[in-house]
Amino acid sequence: MGVQQYKAGFFVVTAILALFAASPALQRLLVMPQTEFFTELWLLGAEHRAEGYPYNVTSGETYTVYLGIANHLGSCGYYVVQVKFRNSTESAPNSFNRTCSTLPSLYNLTVFVADKAMVEVPVTFTLNYSLGMYNESLPQVTLTGIRFNGLMLKAETLSVWNAEKSEFYGSLFFELWIYNSTTARFQYHERYVSLRLNLTAESPAPA
C-alpha cells in the first residue's frame, strides 16, 4: 500500500496551496462586473440626519441643510445642481416622466465627484418675503429674494394662502444635471430633491 493511501490527501493539500497562491490573480479575474451605473442625490437636515428639515420658515431667518451627491457611474462625474424655487402653481420636476422644471435656475452649483466617491455641500438659505393680500379675502406672501450660501439670488414669486393645508406653500428644489462629454452639453440627470416650505407670516396665519 505505502504512500498510495495518502494520494488523495496529498493532492488535495497541494491543490489548496496552489489555489491559495493563485488567490491574488483569481481575486481580480473573478470580480463581478459593475452592472448598475447611477448617481445618488440626497438632502439631510441641519443635524446631518434625514430628519429636522425646515418646514415652517420665517422671512429673514437662515436655515441649513446638506446636499449630497454620490457617484456610481464608473468614472468621475461633472455635475451642475440647478437651484430653483416654486409656488404651488409653477412648473415642478416630475419623477414619473423624468422631466425637469421649466423654471429658470436661480443658481448653479458646480460639483465634481470621483467614481465611488461622494461630495456633500452645506446649503444655507434665507427667504425674504412680505405678507400682503392677493384679493380682499385671500392673503399672500411675495417672495423678493433668496440669500443662498451668502449670495443674493433674485427670486420673485408669490404664494397665496392654502386654507386646506394651512400654509403659504413654497418649494426650494435642487435638480441634478450632468455633463455629457459626447455632446459637450449638460443634460438633466433625472434626479431632484426638494424642501417643502411653509412661508409663515410674522403675524398669526388667518384661519
Partner: protein
C-alpha cells in the same frame, strides 16, 4: 444755438462711450467665462483619464470643486450684470487650475506604473507560484512513490 448743439453732442458722445464701455465689459466677462468653462472641461477630462488609469483623484476633485464654485459665482455675477466681478471670478477659476493638467498627468503615470507592478506581482506572480506549487507537488509525489516502491 451753437452752445446748445455742442452740449447735446457732448452728452450724446458721453452716453455712447458709456454704452460702449458697458458692452466691452460684458464681452470681456463673457469671454472670460467661456474660457473658464473650457478650462474646467479640459481639466475634468484629464482627471477622468487619470482615474481610468487607476489614480486616486481626490485631490484633483477638490481642486475642480474650488474652481467650479468660483465659476458658479462668476456666472451669477454675470447674470446680475456685474461684469467686472464676473470676469474677475472667472479669471480666479482658471487660476485655481494652474498646473492641474501636469498634476493629473503625473498621477496618471504613477498609477500606470503601479498598475504594471500590481499586474506583475499579483497576476503573473501568483499564477507562476500556483503552477510551481502544483509542479512541486507532483515532483514530491513522484519521489515519494518511487521511494515507497524501492522500499517494498
Amino acid at each position: 444755438m451753437w452752445k446748445r448743439m455742442f452740449l447735446l453732442t457732448l452728452t450724446l458722445c458721453f452716453m455712447l462711450s458709456a454704452v460702449a464701455v458697458a458692452m466691452a465689459a460684458q464681452e470681456d466677462a463673457s469671454s472670460a467665462l467661456a474660457s473658464a468653462r473650457d478650462t474646467l472641461v479640459q481639466c475634468y477630462s484629464v482627471a477622468c483619464d487619470a482615474e481610468a488609469a487607476g489614480a486616486n483623484i481626490t485631490e484633483l476633485q477638490n481642486r475642480l470643486n474650488v474652481a467650479g464654485a468660483l465659476l458658479s459665482h462668476a456666472e451669477l455675477a454675470f447674470s446680475q450684470g456685474d461684469y467686472e466681478s464676473a470676469a474677475s471670478l472667472a479669471f480666479q477659476a482658471r487660476g485655481a487650475l494652474d498646473g492641474f493638467i501636469a498634476q493629473a498627468d503625473s498621477l496618471r503615470a504613477s498609477a500606470a506604473e503601479a498598475r504594471s507592478w500590481d499586474f506583475r506581482i499579483n497576476i503573473v506572480g501568483s499564477a507562476v507560484a500556483s503552477v510551481a506549487i502544483l509542479a512541486a507537488g507532483a515532483g514530491v509525489w513522484h519521489v515519494l512513490k518511487r521511494r515507497s516502491n524501492d522500499g517494498a
